[in-house]
């Protein structure tokens, strides 16, 4: 229990420091890396012909989608011809069409759902030029969108910020330096970083063993820093070469928690910058607290559920002191696994250090519910934007109840915004539930289910929740490399990402153009404890109401069966 608490305590100062740095990068203020990086940036701007002109909300979204489209195109080609290219010492074949489609959407949308297995599906060149490349660019895309969103909430104009400049600055000033440092720390724990081919050794029992190596550390660091989550190996961060020690486990967890949390801190500073300088702005703190309450509730549930073990195994007469160990690694045990599971789904990374399919029913319900809510910190900037939708909704509902006109940061929330907010909040459950319904109604969908009974439905729900939330973890038993699953999850990821971002930026544009009103006595306070609790209640109510029927048929039924 203590080991969990200590990790979370270490997290707090780190996230505040990073938040302040992120704030300076966003507002183009001086940082200590500037002398070197300004030169790098200038070269990039010059080569690409990027001018320092402000963009409207529409132009911003358009540039975002255009650049992502080019990246998808380049990545797709590489996957399809990887066998012909260099840096392929393990002689991996080209990737099949629907699988390539799924993989490329998956990595461009920062989901990192993997229907292939890295050891046998990708050459080293593809790991670098497709996977690592997209891990950087998709994370930067998410942060850029978030920056644009936050800026518009406090600005008085819709023409502000340039996508390409935000995009470049996030990569050169945040993702790249952080990734290099974390990669070296991870190598010191035992992650391989080499271009030589897999090793085959002779064991002392006279048999052979294949050992998969490769440029793992350089992928592993950005995988967590950018809340991407796609592993070098099939079993992701459960494999000793992706996560060899408890220390590497903690470093990986802190890496993925760092930037989503820092986004909230940076937002809090942007909102409060006119007043005197604070360590953590009050408005952001209210949101951060709401996220933390949801996070801790989930964490405690997973820990208790996993610690209790599996009653069916106890019946077999062996001792289960360690808790439920099926699918877990001995070096992590229940505590480190429970924490990793909660972190990776709350911060929508999607890497795993234990197999979620083998979690106890309630232990598996929490990660699923985190992704269904998709606001418990969330990934790479988009988590904050999702939460802002709920913030605006909460303000609206609260003001309706007490009869005041809804207003946030001096901007009135009116009919047009509310329609878009409602739409935005509904897209996510619609994608998950409709696709799940389709999957259980068609033979090709059912063909993927590998566990009998209620758990089978959980596998389907989890897969689409993960795809739509752009998380990428899975109930990995699901036989998901088929045309049906590749195409449906590909579409879920695509809509879950781009529809949501476009609508959110449209809302921000609408708010940016509004007249600013100063707060009066009648304005609802949005930075106190009451508001935080109200926000948590609204998130849970919407989440619970939408998903409860599906969850009741999946994990809750399984739990009741297990203990009957």
């Amino acid at each position: 229990m203590w080991q969990i608490a200590i990790v979370l305590i270490i997290y707090l100062p780190l996230v505040i420091l990073t938040g302040h740095y992120l704030y300076r990068v966003t507002l183009q203020q001086k940082t200590w890396l500037d002398p070197l990086l300004d030169k790098v940036d200038t070269v990039i701007y010059k080569v690409c012909g990027i001018k320092r002109v402000d963009m409207t909300g529409k132009e911003y979204v358009l540039s975002l989608i255009l650049s992502n489209a080019f990246m998808v195109f380049m990545g797709y080609i590489i996957l399809r011809i990887q066998a012909l290219l260099f840096l392929n010492p393990n002689n991996i074949n080209n990737m099949e069409e629907t699988l390539s489609f799924n993989t490329i959407i998956s990595f461009m949308t920062n989901t990192n759902l993997q229907h292939y297995s890295g050891e046998s599906g990708l050459s080293y060149l593809s790991q670098m030029l497709v996977i690592i490349f997209m891990m950087f660019t998709s994370a930067a895309t998410g942060y850029a969108a978030c920056m644009a969103f936050c800026r518009r909430l406090v600005a008085k104009t819709d023409t502000i910020g340039n996508f390409f400049i935000d995009f470049v600055r996030v990569i050169t000033r945040i993702l790249m330096p952080f990734s290099i440092v974390v990669a070296i720390i991870l190598v010191s724990q035992g992650l391989p970083q080499t271009f030589s081919a897999n090793k085959t050794v002779q064991t002392i029992e006279g048999k052979l063993q294949d050992i998969a190596i490769g440029p793992i550390a350089s992928l592993e660091s950005i995988k967590h820093i950018g809340t991407n989550g796609g592993g070098f190996n099939g079993a992701n961060s459960t494999t000793p070469f992706e996560n060899p020690t408890v220390l590497s486990n903690i470093v990986e967890m802190l890496s993925m928690m760092l930037l989503p949390g820092a986004c909230v801190v940076a937002f809090s500073l942007m909102v409060s910058h006119r007043k005197k300088k604070a360590i953590f702005g009050k408005q952001g703190l209210a949101i951060f607290t709401a996220m933390s309450i949801l996070f801790l509730a989930g964490l405690v549930t997973v820990y208790i559920a996993e610690k209790a073990g599996n009653p069916i195994i106890s019946e077999l007469g062996i001792t289960q002191e360690l808790g439920s160990m099926e699918g877990k690694e001995m070096r992590f045990g229940v505590a480190q696994s429970a924490l990793f599971t909660t972190v990776t789904t709350a911060f929508t990374t999607g890497s795993i250090n234990n197999m979620h399919d083998t979690l106890t029913p309630l232990g598996g319900l929490v990660p699923m519910f985190n992704m269904m809510l998709n606001v418990v910190f969330g990934g790479k900037g988009v988590g904050l934007m999702n939460m802002m939708m709920y913030v605006l909704l909460t303000i609206f509902i609260a003001c309706l109840m007490i009869g005041r006109s809804p207003q946030f940061l001096g901007k009135k929330i009116e009919e047009k915004e509310m329609k878009l907010i409602a739409l935005c909040i509904l897209i996510h459950p619609a994608i998950i539930l409709l696709f799940s319904a389709l999957a259980v109604a068609t033979p090709s969908g059912i063909a993927g289910i590998t566990n009998p009974g209620a758990h089978g439905l959980s596998q389907v729900l989890y897969e689409f929740a993960s795809a739509s939330a752009n998380n990428g973890s899975g109930f990995e038993g699901l036989a998901d490399n088929s045309t049906f699953w590749n195409v449906t999850t590909g579409l879920a990821m695509f809509f879950g990402r781009y529809l949501t971002i476009s609508i959110q930026l449209a809302i921000a544009s609408l708010l940016a153009k509004k007249v600013w009103h100063s707060d009066s006595v009648g304005t609802l306070k949005t930075d106190n404890t009451t508001f935080t609790l109200l926000l948590v209640a609204i998130v849970l109510m919407i989440g619970a109401l939408t998903f409860l029927p599906a969850l009741a048929l999946g994990p809750i039924t399984e739990h009741l069966q297990l203990y009957s």
Binding site: S117, F133, G190, V201, P215, S221, P240, I312, E326, G333
Partner: protein, 214 residues
């Protein structure tokens, strides 16, 4: 329209630049640093005996001989195979399909899980007649997530001592000492679990047996 064209050009160029920066320069720079600073670890922490690699410190191996510690259940058999496993049988099937990682992904309620564990318990009790069923720790009978877990719990190592002593001819105290030497405590006394690296322990058992023979 001109604006759209200009945006497209910038989008294409930024893609190419980042392709080079993130896809090439970054991984090569990290490789250079890693190989320079941590040469042994960056190449997979391989264990060498007489100049030949016999495994990695971080990756478990499948052991079947009674004189060695047995590890956890693995759905991929730790990627350990024999030459025969790669030759197709009459139906064109091979036992070993190349390197992979993962687990069985059995849900807690899956009847297959119960069946597998029950069979493994019977097998273990047969090979270790002195061990009582209620003394078997669950980590030894459950599959690891990666299928490559190099560790077992302290208790899982202790219940194998009797069998190993008998099969190897080494005294029990010696084997207990080997467990002690390969016991990895909690990091800083708090983080993680107490565990034994069974591959490293087995290498020591082998060396001790060799010495005894000489």
């Amino acid at each position: 329209m001109r604006k759209f064209f200009e945006n497209s050009k910038q989008a294409l160029l930024i893609t190419i630049i980042m392709f080079i920066l993130c896809g090439f320069i970054y991984p090569f720079a990290v490789t250079a640093l890693a190989q320079g600073l941590y040469h042994h670890k960056a190449n997979g922490s391989l264990i060498e005996m007489d100049g030949e690699a016999v495994g990695s410190e971080l990756i478990g191996q499948a052991f079947t001989a009674p004189e060695y510690f047995w590890g956890r259940v693995s759905s991929v058999n730790y990627n350990v195979y024999t030459r025969e496993d790669t030759i197709p049988d009459d139906n064109g099937q091979v036992n070993y399909n190349g390197v992979s990682s993962g687990t069985f992904n059995y849900a807690p309620t899956n009847p297959e899980l119960k069946k597998r564990i029950e069979a493994d318990i019977e097998k273990f009790l047969l090979a270790n007649p002195s061990v009582k069923r209620q003394d078997i720790p669950s980590d030894l009978m459950t599959a690891s997530g990666s299928g490559l877990d190099p560790h077992i719990s302290m208790k899982a190592a202790e219940i194998q001592v009797e069998r190993i002593a008998q099969a190897s001819g080494l005294p029990k105290e010696e084997i207990n000492k080997i467990i002690e030497a390969n016991l990895e405590k909690r990091t800083l006394g708090i983080f993680g679990e107490r565990k034994v690296n069974f591959l490293m322990a087995n290498l020591e058992i082998m060396k001790k047996m060799d010495r005894k023979r000489d």
